[in-house]
Subunit: 113 residues, 2 copies
Amino acid sequence: MENNQTDLDSIFQALADPTRRAVVQRLGEGSATVSELAAPFQMGLPAFLKHIAVLEAAGLVTSIKVGRVRTCTLEEDKLEAAAGWFQDQREQWKARYEQLDALLDTLKARKKT
Amino acid sequence: MENNQTDLDSIFQALADPTRRAVVQRLGEGSATVSELAAPFQMGLPAFLKHIAVLEAAGLVTSIKVGRVRTCTLEEDKLEAAAGWFQDQREQWKARYEQLDALLDTLKARKKT
DNA sequence: GGAATACTTCACCACATGGAAAACAATCAG
DNA sequence: CTGATTGTTTTCCATGTGGTGAAGTATTCC
């Protein structure tokens, strides 16, 4: 559960492409083979395989080859790790707002006395 | 509230860099000037300003210049937009698990009879 | 006015990324 | 064994990204 900087780098980098996000989305419905995944896209297989490689390098997808067919599976944990970063940020600025509220309360109290 | 592909592209692209995530994190504590933001990093100002430009292009940060000082502010809504994508994915695979559960129930029921 | 501050722009470089094309496996079907 | 499928590798190209250093532009301070 390291979830370090390098991890986030590669995960966000992987998701910064519509093709790869579409693959993640498709795999959310269940595992699929490379050709099934490549079908909706115009690009050639070599180009598409690079996208898969990026997703695997980021740990978002794993795949096994049975016979001549490679089947890809979504690693939901990794997606949750990235989602966790947003949650961390949210908590940070939430804390700031609470500080502001506290400050306002202090000012109000001072006004009264 | 479009939150289209291009938007997500630039947001994730912007977050796929430790320098820029650190800036977002810092701005989560409150607005800051360019030099305040740049201080923790070794790189020269030109390089740092490019990072700021990327964040602004993605809409994650806005800035105004008063006198010779530019002050940057975090746009929390944009971060929420990206976080929303993860939520969408989560709902998709949650739905899939429910289908699997239903399938298992069907099989169980069939076994019984 | 002159100097220091706070960016800003410009020119340039090394390397990564996204894509095409072509040739190369490795399997399965008849 | 002969193909037809299904990836995989290799080579190549254009573009984008992250960094540098040097010079330029406003402001503000003394």
